[in-house]
Subunit: 336 residues, 2 copies
């Protein structure tokens, strides 16, 4: 829903703009009853008083907002460092808000951002996000928003991504070339752009090498660690268990290693593992982990650089600025 | 510097309060010349227009601010989850701002927070922070602030910490009992409360076991990864090199392991290692890492709970609410 402005609110209430303004400055001239009425209608019609844009035209908040699912993931913490490297140079603060993979949280955060708190937004959507009205609302209210990593395909703006399809393909092909014919894929969401593309890459690699995909070996992990352990265990306890695993997010590394230890499966002898990960500790794991290493810092930096172009130039066309930065397959002992 | 209020600004400029107010609402009644004059004086005297508190008395921003050095550290990402678990229940957003260990950034963030953007602040100070005027300014402007983990001792407020002295002592004693007589300590800052206390614990353990502390084996690591590698290498290349290492922050794990590999030193045979760390991967490292595991989630949760007590009750005395939550020594293969 598009926010309404003060004029539309006044019209709706059959009051003057100055009366509304006085309510929002808590003037003694206005009765409590009228204040109450205005506040209720404002809430219902999604009117957000804009302390900066409306109060001092041209003044910027000098903040940019970053909306991400979590920080307990090296990808996002490195991307934030990339974003901050640009923001600092421009004299901006970065406000980080976490959705914890909840669509409801994401909507609330974007609504909150429309009060003039930030001048622009960098975003990686939650796992639950399957439509984009809340994002289009923000953009139509004049706030530039740029996606990085996890995007909504249908929103017209710049998208800074990595080559998720190719990375899924490369990880899978690597395991095939190492002799795996049964390979499991651990995803996190069907609707999520990155997860879907990685899965597609996996399926295409299998098809190109004339290997059959098996539904039982493709699972979606959740925020619930216990559920993930059980699901991974189930896969590795099958009679015809997979000899390779592509884990599409970093936080699945520890459960995969621990389940293998529990089941006395040796990595890489019994099971070979590739994980999408920017973990600093990948090289010192037991065994060291083969990773798809994403250009996290560069993605954050690029997204922020483009956002500032939009902030500095009116009518800057963001849709022309999308960019795909390639990831790298780093082969270590877990797969060879 | 304490922020001045609108009355003091009006007095300074010899203008009425309503004129100042009109400037900050960009009224057409006020000339550009006067606007310019007011804005310049406001900037000089540190007047921050408060869009919420002043514009709608009693209205809350429904945000709390979290100021931390970085997110690329499991301690902070877990603490954030603890904070958010409470904030969510209370219907608040959490705005996370990173100082990247810079005192200048920290000051700017706190100043920014005084504009009504947040109702309260949870903070872990930067490595560079050695005095607390900026924090006392914030508090004297009516914003409750609570420290967690890294504190300024002299600020009168609640401090949620862990037993850093005991943890430093326990880590060192554990290595002594494992047969180490020369133990290195990798710290990060002399002025930082946690680092100082962990070092003190280390020194006390050595003294209690009649072992001599050696200045050459006590180093301060920085944000510069290269510097840290060189410093750790230097320690481990000595003729009489230490056979034990206490690393006081998580991010030193990878450099310690990599330097040992480079120098062909086996952990734990040649060097035993204990690290302050909440790394999810500690148990799957090569070898698995003995850690001082801090109650990160609990510390964040407790700090947030106390902040909301202060938000819900006027004149709530924060100084009585400090709490020390113990850490645990988790022994794994890197030390035994």
């Amino acid at each position: 829903m598009k926010n309404i402005n003060i004029k539309a609110l006044a019209c709706e209430l059959n009051l003057s703009v100055s009366t509304i303004s006085k309510v929002f400055h808590d003037s003694y001239e206005i009765s409590d009853h009228t204040k109450q009425r205005v506040l209720e209608t404002a809430a219902r019609l999604n009117y957000v008083p804009n302390p900066y844009a409306s109060s001092l035209r041209g003044r910027k908040s000098k903040n940019i907002g970053v909306v991400i699912p979590e920080v307990a993931d090296s990808f996002f913490s490195l991307a934030i460092n990339g974003i901050e490297s640009v923001a600092k140079e421009k004299g901006y603060h970065v406000l980080i808000c976490l959705t914890h993979e909840s669509f409801e949280n994401e909507k609330n955060i974007l609504k909150e951002f429309q009060g003039g708190r930030v001048d622009g937004v960098l975003m990686s959507v939650s796992r639950e996000t399957s439509h984009s009205d809340h994002i289009n609302d923000l953009i139509s209210n004049g706030l530039p928003l740029i996606f990085f990593d996890r995007v909504c395909e249908d929103v017209q703006t710049a998208k800074i991504t990595t080559d998720d399809f190719e990375s899924g393909y490369n990880a899978t092909e690597h395991l095939i070339l190492q002799g795996c014919s049964k390979i499991a894929f651990l995803g996190i969401s069907k609707s999520l752009s990155i997860s879907g593309k990685r899965l597609e890459g996996y399926l295409n690699a299998l098809a190109d090498y004339e290997l059959k995909a098996d539904k039982k070996n493709i699972i979606l992990c959740t925020n619930d660690a216990k559920h993930n352990y059980t699901a991974i265990k189930k896969i590795l306890q099958q009679k015809n268990k997979p000899t390779g695993i592509v884990a599409s997010v970093e936080k699945l590394t520890t459960p995969v290693y621990k389940v293998c230890e529990m089941l006395k499966l040796k990595i890489p002898k019994d099971v070979k593992v590739v994980c999408f990960s920017n973990l600093d500790t990948a090289a010192i794991l037991n065994p060291s982990l083969t990773t798809i290493t994403q250009p996290a810092f560069e993605m954050g930096k690029t997204a922020a650089t483009i956002l500032f172009k939009a902030l500095e130039k009116t009518n800057f066309n963001l849709t022309g600025e999308s960019l795909v930065i390639p990831s790298a397959l780093v082969v270590r002992n877990s797969s060879s």
